[in-house]
Symmetry: C2
Subunit: 326 residues, 2 copies
Amino acid sequence: MQKIRLGIVGYGNLGRGVQLAAAQNNDMEVAAVFTRRDPSAVKTVLPVRVEKYEAMKDYVGKIDVMILCGGSATDLPVQSAEIVQLFNTVDSFDTHAKIPEYFEALDAAAKKTGHIGAMSIGWDPGLFSLARIYFGAALADGNTYTFWGKGVSQGHSDAIRRVAGVKDARQYTVPVESALERVRNGENPQLSTREKHTRECFVVAEEGADLKRIEKEIKEMPNYFADYDTTVHFISEEELQKNHSGIPHGGFVLRSGKSETDSKFLMEFSLKLDSNPEFTSSVLVAYARGVYRMHKEGKTGAVTVFDIAPKYLSPLDEGEQRKQLL
Amino acid sequence: MQKIRLGIVGYGNLGRGVQLAAAQNNDMEVAAVFTRRDPSAVKTVLPVRVEKYEAMKDYVGKIDVMILCGGSATDLPVQSAEIVQLFNTVDSFDTHAKIPEYFEALDAAAKKTGHIGAMSIGWDPGLFSLARIYFGAALADGNTYTFWGKGVSQGHSDAIRRVAGVKDARQYTVPVESALERVRNGENPQLSTREKHTRECFVVAEEGADLKRIEKEIKEMPNYFADYDTTVHFISEEELQKNHSGIPHGGFVLRSGKSETDSKFLMEFSLKLDSNPEFTSSVLVAYARGVYRMHKEGKTGAVTVFDIAPKYLSPLDEGEQRKQLL
């Protein structure tokens, strides 16, 4: 069988994860990694050819789907519309407010040369989006709730690191258990930001830094912490390395609703992930399979998880899917 | 806006549920109910025209999707291939071993006249099948588990009623909590039938019946009870009516697995349903929307939940789906 030939653009946590996830799928192989760093300086977890970003164009016809592993802030908005003109792409764009314009740009670029650009793939956006759309369709009269965590928020950890006197930090987003229980009990509560999640910060301070001031600055930081109940723990660098070096995450999507005769229904989807980037990568790889198959059927343009029928994702053929999974 | 015109074939718990679910969706209307009983004897929960089964052919062009609410044993295998030649159809066929042949027959019949026949729609098969296919695709190295309950099994309740001396009965399928916990802990256990579920029976005996013999016959019944730890409670008819007249159900699909670097992942989907038929109906109605839209795009033949992209199910248009749900 001809394997699906993947390319990986960008080799951080996500790129590494894609390489590892592809190794778990017999119908996939990674043809090359593309980097804007010096290729000889990139150490990969498994053997693979590492190329300069610009060498990509030499791989047209040799790669079926390019998985874009850059960040949503600056990398993806530029790269995706460029690369999708040469290859089918999959990315994990997650700047929620910019999804509509990103979709339009990707769609136009992809259609120019007849490729597919799959965007916002991962677990949220991604699998959690699927839960929201399926749950909402299956149960018209109800409320949908999304909770995140317990898990590390990279953005919030970075925000703490920018506070003067902070050497390093790790921030956990924690769902409020009692709020989850209220949803599960069918109360259909209106929950404020503060009622849904708390924020727990583990901070390594510079020697002699004013801890009271650091704590105050963190807790009052607008957007990031001011609207939450935030706890700050000062710990040693050793403790941070020992107990907080992982990147776990997860969360819950729930929909609670009722029928016309007031029968109550609860739908719940949850994830518990030791490694956020490794799981996201695993989803990206499954969708690369979907993109490959849909492109073979003649589909082009931008797509999200909403546009891709589940049959395209499974390594099983359609008959086996019905036999084993239906 | 032109509403999607539904027909309901068969008016038991499921047909009633479809009528109620359609009332919760602004883009739907029920044009008629078709029955093999005397139409004047059918009391509907909401006002609707009730027609003889044979009158269906007069509704060609007046109904967009026919929802088949008969049973899987004898009704659906005959009706679906007949009706799909006149209308698009949605059904909840759930005889698992016969799915491949049912699919082939439905597919051939649907393609004769260019309709879509959506089969095995509901929550299992249906939403649980979706969880199994998405989870398996997203996490290549892992094990998937399905648990059912706590809920009423109609088939097992009927089996008890066939025991001599039994007047009425209700059987609950109950997932074994400790087995669920082992899966959630990432143990990837091999679980026997007995280890996954217990069966709890509430039995109303005829006056003077030999309770010991009834209990023994139930517990030793092959296929239904012999492979399970079964509990039998004898109760009065009043108690059965008072405490066991509902048809609740639910269950869990879990997948536990790991990355190449041994990061562990747990995916879990669960349902808790006051009324099994009302929820199944609600899913049938959402898929009627999907069938209607896919048929407009020119799709024909048999389809399952695996073939239908989620975008077709949501009442929102695609731009709003991306904005609100992605």
